[in-house]
């Protein structure tokens, strides 16, 4: 095996590892997306609240993520909260000023199971390259307990510095 091949292998391994963030947390499957593109968000829920089954998953849609549509899920009731956006956005030639602000799935997910929740939308150019769009998630469980994945890192800190970071997607420059 040549040095170059080895280095490439190492880099690949690092990349694979990097794309698998802490599974103990609620995370988004695709960690990066371009501004102005359609983004399919796959929320991964690895466990319940300290052993208690998950009864509800709520996700807050960040300002600038528009045209949101959740994917229906067998066994789960979907609720959509709509409201006014802070700003107006151009979408397919039209002006959008309101839309989905919050999504929630109600069902039952025992602690031993893993589940994914899917929705799609457009990341507008309001997101600058290098920024992160955060999707705070509240996981409500049996016994009235909740896990809140809502911590947004302060300046100079990263999600790793927090116990319950909000899932996020890093915005990259659109492909020319």
């Amino acid at each position: 095996m040549t040095k170059t091949k080895l280095a490439a292998l190492g880099a690949a391994a690092l990349l694979v590892a990097a794309s698998v963030p802490a599974l103990a947390h609620v995370t988004l499957e695709a960690p990066q997306a371009a501004a102005g593109s359609t983004y399919k968000a796959v929320l991964r829920v690895p466990h319940g609240c300290a052993g208690a089954a998950t009864l509800k998953v709520r996700v807050q849609i960040p300002e600038g993520f528009i045209g949101v549509k959740p994917m229906p899920k067998a066994g789960w009731n979907l609720d959509i909260v709509k409201g006014k956006y802070e700003h107006g956005y151009d979408l397919h030639g039209g002006k959008v000023t309101e839309g989905v602000k919050e999504l929630s799935w109600t069902g039952n997910l025992p602690d031993d199971y893993y589940e994914e929740f899917v929705f799609r939308g457009t990341l507008t150019e309001a997101f600058a390259a290098g920024a992160t769009a955060y999707f705070p998630v509240v996981q409500e469980c049996e016994g009235g307990v909740a896990e809140r994945w809502i911590e947004v890192p302060a300046d100079g800190k990263s999600a790793d510095d927090y116990e319950s970071p909000a899932p996020g997607v890093e915005i990259v420059a659109p492909a020319k």
Partner: protein, 527 residues
């Protein structure tokens, strides 16, 4: 080959680092005895229940006195059983635990329970000093009697009365010196005991005595012993210049001894406080020490009584002036004002002392103006009058010494003000961030008073506030507490039993709305 190995190591390390936390972390579900509960008898074991099997790592038990001991834990399914040491008094215990989750990720926390009753650090400390306080006070009076009555008395006999004295005066002064010596000896141990903590039974050990010897007050006592020995020596020497010189040296030693410890010696500026204290002590010893020997001269109708009384009378006016001036200087340096004279314990003791001294001064003036001049002319009645007045004087002096010894337990107003300011500063924590601010104050029983405000300065409305308190230096994992709402933006945590004092890392998790939280972190100094 080397480079290959290095790269491989890098790759493996990188993967391990990034892929490390790949499973759920374990969570503590509960403990037995339950968190914050009070049990009647010390439990032999503590049970920590987790949501998944965990690997025990570090377990440390803190007893109510803040002493810690490493303890062992054994895993049993999802639980850990922690063996607790058998002996233990009443109060609050804290078990700091650290375990590894199935994914290898370490998690930690601190579980607390109380035996008999909950205890708090501040309360425990005040209880400790009160047991030895009366003895410390009595011993200090004894030391002062040795210095003022004994050393001052020897000075009067050898330097002022020029060695012309009845034998009973020698015996009396020697007895006072002996009393001072015994009191000094016990003071070493009691001082050490007060500093180390513990009850009187601990006097059987060497530690308190050594600690007392090494303390600043130990230095004062050592020099005091030198003064007592010099004074005893002066009494043995034939009357003359050598004896007078030795007695004077003893007086000087007392003056210096006073400057080595105590709050008056530490008042700023030291160049004013220490000489003032030394002069005050020397003058007090001169005046106070003369009373008993003079009384004995008068009572025995000694031939030298009249002459000695006259010589003393001439000495006393400058002595009283020095006493008053140095006393005034010290009072000012100690931050005494008209308000603190009545408003603080220190001030009340000073006021009491001043009243007693004024009474003594009145009697002194009576002696000087009327009784002593008559004494020179002879007559038994005059002796009797002067004797009675001196008797009252000696009693007043004893009271003054008792009052002065009481200062050992009362900080002067300047220290009270400084301590209050320091306490306010230390036990109050401000955390500022761009989004909000928290002001956390620690109360007397470990209560935390939390005030939250937003970036606009208005009270910050929150749904939930959690407090995590850890002391990394002492090896204490976070104690988690839920704050209760008092009013908008005002939260409270009751009675946190801090196992030890020092710097604690405080982390506030403020839930503002369902999806919005604020994390604030700072360092709180626990007294």
């Amino acid at each position: 080959m080397l480079r290959f190995l290095a790269r491989l190591a890098l790759v493996v390390a990188g993967c391990a680092m990034l892929a490390g936390p790949c499973f759920a972390h374990a969570t503590l579900l509960g403990s037995q005895p339950a968190e914050g509960s009070v049990v009647a008898t010390p439990p032999a074991k503590m049970r920590l229940s987790f949501n998944e099997p965990v690997t025990p790592q570090v377990f440390r038990l803190f007893d109510p006195d803040g002493r810690s001991a490493d303890v062992t834990a054994t895993a049993q399914d999802n639980d850990l059983l922690v063996e607790l040491p058998a002996a233990g008094g009443e109060g609050t215990y804290a078990l700091s635990w650290r375990v590894a989750s199935a994914d290898g990720h370490p998690i930690g926390g601190t579980a607390t329970f109380s035996v008999g009753h909950a205890s708090h650090r501040a309360a425990a400390e005040t209880a400790r000093t009160s047991a030895t306080a009366p003895l410390i006070w009595l011993m200090r009076i004894g030391v002062y009697i040795g210095w003022i009555g004994g050393v001052g008395g020897a000075f009067f006999l050898m330097a002022v009365a020029a060695g012309r004295r009845p034998a009973v005066a020698d015996r009396a002064i020697a007895a006072l010196l002996g009393l001072g010596g015994v009191a000094t000896l016990f003071s070493f141990g009691l001082q050490g005991l007060d500093e180390l903590g513990g009850n009187l039974a601990h006097l059987g050990r060497a530690a308190p005595w050594l600690a007392g010897l090494q303390s600043p007050y130990g230095g004062t006592l050592c020099l005091g012993v030198v003064a007592l020995v010099l004074a005893a020596l002066a009494l043995r020497l034939p009357a003359g210049k050598v004896a007078a010189g030795t007695a004077s040296a003893a007086l000087v030693a007392v003056a210096f001894a006073l400057t080595l410890s105590g709050h008056a010696s530490t008042a700023a500026p030291a160049w004013a406080a220490r000489p003032a204290l030394a002069l005050h002590g020397a003058a007090a010893a001169l005046w106070g020490g003369s009373l008993l020997p003079l009384l004995l001269l008068v009572a025995t109708r000694h031939e030298g009584a009249g002459g000695s009384a006259l010589r003393l009378s001439a000495l006393l006016l400058p002595t009283v002036a020095v006493l008053a001036l140095s006393g005034l200087t010290l009072a000012v340096l100690q931050g005494v004002t008209v308000a603190t004279l009545a408003g603080t314990d220190y001030g009340r003791l000073l006021a009491g002392k001043l009243l007693l001294v004024l009474a003594m001064l009145g009697l002194g003036a009576l002696n000087r103006r009327i009784l002593v001049p008559r004494l020179a002319t002879g007559g038994d009645g005059h002796f009797r009058h002067l004797g009675r007045v001196l008797m009252v004087d000696v009693c007043l002096l004893l009271l003054v010494l008792a009052v002065v010894a009481g200062w050992r337990f009362t900080p002067p107003p300047r220290s009270i003000a400084a301590a209050e300011a320091a306490l306010r500063h230390r036990s109050m924590l401000h955390i500022h961030t761009a989004r909000g601010m928290a002001m956390i104050e620690i109360g007397g029983h470990g209560d935390l008073d939390i005030r939250l405000s937003g970036a606009d300065g208005r009270p910050l409305a929150a749904q939930d506030v959690r407090v995590g308190l850890a002391n990394p230096a002492a090896g204490i994992e976070p104690l988690q507490r839920q704050a209760t709402l008092v009013a908008n933006g005002h939260w409270r945590v009751d009675g946190v039993s801090f196992p030890v004092g020092g710097a604690w890392t405080l982390r506030l998790g403020v839930l503002i709305s369902d999806f919005d939280s604020l994390s604030l972190e700072g360092t709180l100094t626990v007294p």
